[in-house]
């Protein structure tokens, strides 16, 4: 069984979804879709025993063998972890969406198709061993995310957010493609595994640093790191199941995956460690600091996602230090990164679902209007509290363990002595701690402002009540996981985290069991993590209690200086600027464009003929002048002259037909019956067509042309004529490459079983050309039909914003 095909299971199932949606009205489409992630999850779980022992599985399907591009599913600890996240959280999200998305009001067909496309894309990203297919799937996640954010496409904000996210992530994707191409130039392979095997050699290659930076641009844009995070808050316009799935649990972690996957190649470079750790910490701080500013529940969660992603990123950066320092504490960092990644997916997914429930049951997500919901929504409150406390890093929840490991790792950075860390290293624990304080604050802000405090039900659009039980199942499962992991961290470690750590740092560990880490909740009073956590709680509580006093200070930052404004200005500016540039030469008149084209063509070709000294005239190859030939030439020249000087279009068109017919006669004289036949018929049909179109054209006028225009036209047309004549003469006079005619003569009978070479060329030898030509012809026909028959009246208003 080629399990690489399982990547495509969701997208194949997506073909059936619209039928299920249209035909089966009684059952919510989501129930059918739920099968896909469930089946995949239970299938991929069966890989756990293999991967736990440090093994891996490969399945390959050839795609473009000549270029070395294949769909390769490579399952090791890291990709299995992500695969299980994608399918596991995917199942819960689909279950949740069954209750969230109204069967009557929403276009469920499109929704689940997009979601399934995303699932395939994401599985492809984390399992692909081939960088080209990895890139393909990577961009497919961007596109499906675009579709899902813009799902409610009648809202301006949805479309804006969708476009913004696509602009930024596709930009990053292209940068990443650059990195992959550079890597393939350096390592002469597209396979990630083979690249990793030659990692020490790649270090010294000239493109190494460039590839590193480009790859990180891809990862940072996708994982919403500073300063690219601005797309994530706007992506919250998506339906909440999408936010929970794409924009917190899976897609935004693709960047994390990329960094983890390429750590064996780039990890030993100082640029990598500085950039990943530094940008990660900056994002952690920035996100947590601005989360408290937000008033929309989902915006708070978006900023908190940004900050948590920064946390994981910085841990991966710190983990790469273990290539230089043997201290176990740095291996610890990678472990913590993976651990926190799992925890984050669990608690953040749950929190997003709760935010969706609140929105669903009260009609608003504005935290200023909410309050005191605990009494009416006790289950939601419990789940939200578990998630928030885990996010804040408190026991007995899983977030506490990974958060403490994070703080320990950051403190350990002080002792690292390479790459100037001895001077600046002290910054890292300080920033990490301050960010943790803010994390605590916004976690409290999220849950307490919503559920506790004054009841303001009269301000709410709907009378709030507890959500239906079906909607609560998914967040409740996630909350259970959050608690469970706290009590059995080492089981999770043994089954999932250690194999993943080994996959990230294959040179350091021989097998997953060699990762010598045992997670404990209690390290004794001497542990730095404990005191830092206590400090976080104390200062975080203080900050929370004083929020009304300092929240207004956010307004000090002028709107003009924000990153969002920078993005808007960039978009507007490039649109306006480029418009201005193209207006410079785009006059809207076809005659001007033709002038450009002809002038350019004749100038370049004549120049090349001149520079390369390519003009050759060989009178010997010419045929003798015959009576018929010269008569025909006279007719031809006369008709051309008539076209140029004709006063009416009708006359010009008929004269043009005359030109065509005399050319056809030349074909007859030179014994090319196929060409003559085709030319004759084409001429007939096109004259008829011209005459039909003729009555729609305005009367022949001068279009306000001056004498200077006419001189320019004359020069250009003369040079085109000269160019064509010169090229024709010299190409006939010299054969630089032996003619292929003999090959055709020899093989037309044996290979193609035909007699007429011209037609066999059309349908067989060069069938591809014909195929594309008739495709173009069909497109032209449909375009004319669309332009004329189906054109929309201009007076009709654009109903996009209705």
């Amino acid at each position: 069984m080629e399990f690489v095909l399982f990547i495509f299971l969701p997208v194949i199932f997506a073909i059936l979804v619209p039928f299920a949606y249209k035909k089966i009205k009684g059952i919510h489409t989501g129930w059918f879709v739920l099968l896909v992630p469930l089946v995949l999850f239970s299938y991929y779980v069966s890989f756990l025993p293999l991967v736990m022992d440090g093994g891996h599985a490969i399945s390959e399907m050839k795609w473009i063998p000549s270029l070395g591009i294949a769909f390769t599913s490579y399952i090791d600890g890291l990709s299995l972890l992500f695969t299980l996240l994608i399918t596991g959280i995917g199942s819960l999200v689909v279950l949740y969406s069954v209750f969230y998305m109204d069967r009557e009001k929403e276009d469920l067909g499109s929704f689940y198709v997009y979601l399934l496309i995303f699932m395939t894309a994401m599985l492809g990203v984390v399992q692909s061993d081939n960088t080209m297919t990895l890139y393909l799937f990577w961009e497919l996640t961007s596109i499906s995310s675009f579709l899902l954010i813009g799902f409610w496409y009648t809202k301006d904000k949805s479309r804006f957010g969708a476009l913004k996210s696509m602009m930024i992530t596709v930009f990053g994707g292209l940068m990443m493609l650059g990195a992959f191409i550079l890597l393939s130039i350096m390592g002469e392979t597209f396979s990630v595994r083979e690249l990793i095997a030659q990692a020490p050699d790649l270090m010294n290659q000239p493109y190494f640093t460039l590839a590193l930076v480009l790859l990180l641009l891809g990862a940072f844009t996708k994982s919403a790191q500073f300063p690219f995070y601005i797309w994530l808050p706007d992506a919250m316009e998506a339906p909440t199941p999408v936010s929970a799935y794409l924009h917190s649990a899976t897609m935004v972690k693709a960047g994390i995956y990329l960094v983890a996957r390429f750590t064996p190649i780039f990890g030993s470079a100082s640029t990598w460690i500085w950039l990943v750790t530094g940008i990660g910490l900056l994002t952690l701080f920035w996100g947590s600091f601005f989360a408290v500013k937000q008033t929309d529940l989902k915006a708070i969660l978006a900023f908190s996602t940004v900050s948590q992603l920064g946390l994981i990123m910085s841990l991966l950066g710190a983990g790469a230090i273990s290539y230089h320092a043997t201290a176990a504490i740095f291996g610890f960092a990678t472990y913590a990164a993976i651990f926190h990644l799992i925890n984050h997916a669990a608690f953040k997914g749950g929190l997003f679902m709760i935010a969706g429930i609140i929105d669903h049951e009260t009609g608003t997500r504005d935290i200023r209007k909410l309050g005191g919901l605990m009494s009416v929504m006790p289950i939601s409150f419990t789940v939200a509290a578990i998630g928030s406390l885990s996010m804040a890093g408190l026991p007995p929840f899983s977030g506490f363990l990974s958060k403490e490991m994070f703080l320990e790792s950051m403190v350990a950075l002080r002792h690292f002595e390479l790459f100037n860390f001895d001077t600046w290293g002290i910054m890292f624990p300080i920033v990490a701690w301050v960010a943790s304080v803010f994390t605590f604050t916004y976690s409290m802000y999220f849950v307490l402002k919503t559920f506790i405090g004054q009841k303001k039900f009269e301000q709410l659009p709907k009378q709030p009540h507890e959500a239906p039980i079906g909607m609560l199942i998914a967040p409740m499962i996630l909350a259970t996981i959050v608690i469970l992991v706290f009590f059995i961290p080492n089981v999770i470690g043994k089954w999932i985290i250690k194999p993943a750590v080994m996959a990230i740092q294959p040179t350091l560990y021989a097998s997953p069991s060699a990762v010598d880490i045992h997670v404990k909740a209690w390290h004794g009073f001497g542990a730095a993590g404990l005191w830092l956590t206590i400090g976080v709680v104390v200062f975080g509580t203080l900050l929370y209690l004083t929020i009304p006093k300092w929240q207004p200070f956010y307004r000090i930052q002028p709107e003009k200086l924000s990153l969002n404004n920078g993005y808007d200005a960039l978009m507007r500016g490039s649109e306006k600027g480029l418009n201005r540039v193209s207006r410079l030469y785009m006059t809207g008149k076809i005659r001007t464009y033709l002038l450009y084209m002809f002038a350019f063509m004749s100038v370049t070709i004549i120049a090349i003929l001149f520079i390369k000294d390519a003009f050759v005239l060989d009178m010997n190859s010419f045929t003798a002048i015959t009576l018929y030939g010269s008569l025909n030439a006279i007719v031809l020249i006369l008709s051309v002259g008539f076209v140029v000087f004709a006063k009416s279009r009708l006359a010009a068109i008929i004269a043009l037909g005359g030109v065509g017919y005399s050319v056809a006669l030349f074909f007859v004289i030179f014994k090319a019956p196929d060409l003559a036949l085709t030319q004759l018929v084409i001429e007939t049909v096109s004259v008829a067509l011209f005459l039909l179109a003729f009555k729609h054209l305005p009367a022949l006028s001068t279009h306000g042309e001056t004498k200077r225009n006419k001189v320019v036209n004359l020069i250009v047309s003369l040079s085109v004529g000269v160019m064509v004549t010169l090229v024709a003469l010299s190409s006939h006079s010299q054969k630089m490459i032996p003619s292929i005619s003999q090959y055709y003569k020899d093989t037309v009978e044996s290979e193609a079983a035909g007699g007429n070479i011209v037609n066999v060329i059309l349908v067989d030898y060069r069938g591809f050309d014909t195929l594309f030509e008739i495709a173009v012809l069909a497109i032209a026909g449909i375009a004319v039909l669309g332009m004329i028959r189906l054109r929309v009246s201009r007076k009709e208003p654009n109903d996009e914003n209705k």
Partner: protein, 140 residues
């Protein structure tokens, strides 16, 4: 002004069939003698254009009640399908096959998949040319 075009109309009725039959002949002969799907299609188009000149667009649509847009699509699918068909026989895309058959009525005949492809070309040429002419001519 109402023109008297009795001669044109009468001639067109006869000549149409001559051109049309010739185009079919040229289409089938293409593999061995001058001709082929492209020229054949153009000739058929020419025949229809002749009818158009003699009569008006509406009459033509009554005589030939085809949807020429769909004809284009069928032709394109036929061409693409012939080209893609070779994949199922595990030979490269666009490999043609041919063989000799003894058919009733026709006797010993050589049949080619190239012919299928060529008929796709024929349909696309006729379909899109007439689509263009109909849409430009019908826009009043």
């Amino acid at each position: 002004m109402k023109t008297n075009d009795v001669i044109l109309q009468t001639t067109a009725k006869v000549v149409f069939f001559i051109i049309f039959l010739f185009s079919i002949h040229i289409f089938f002969a293409g593999h061995y003698a001058p001709g082929g799907g492209f020229v054949g299609g153009l000739l058929t188009t020419g025949a229809i254009v002749l009818l158009l000149l003699a009569f008006d667009l509406r009459t033509i649509q009554q005589i030939l009640p085809f949807n020429f847009t769909i004809m284009t699509a069928i032709g394109l699918l036929l061409a693409l399908g012939t080209a893609a068909g070779s994949i199922f026989f595990n030979v490269p895309f666009f490999t043609h096959a041919f063989s000799d058959f003894d058919l009733p009525l026709f006797g010993h005949t050589s049949l080619h998949t190239a012919m299928l492809f060529d008929s796709g070309v024929y349909l696309v040429v006729v379909g899109s040319a007439i689509t263009i002419i109909q849409s430009i001519g019908g826009d009043d």
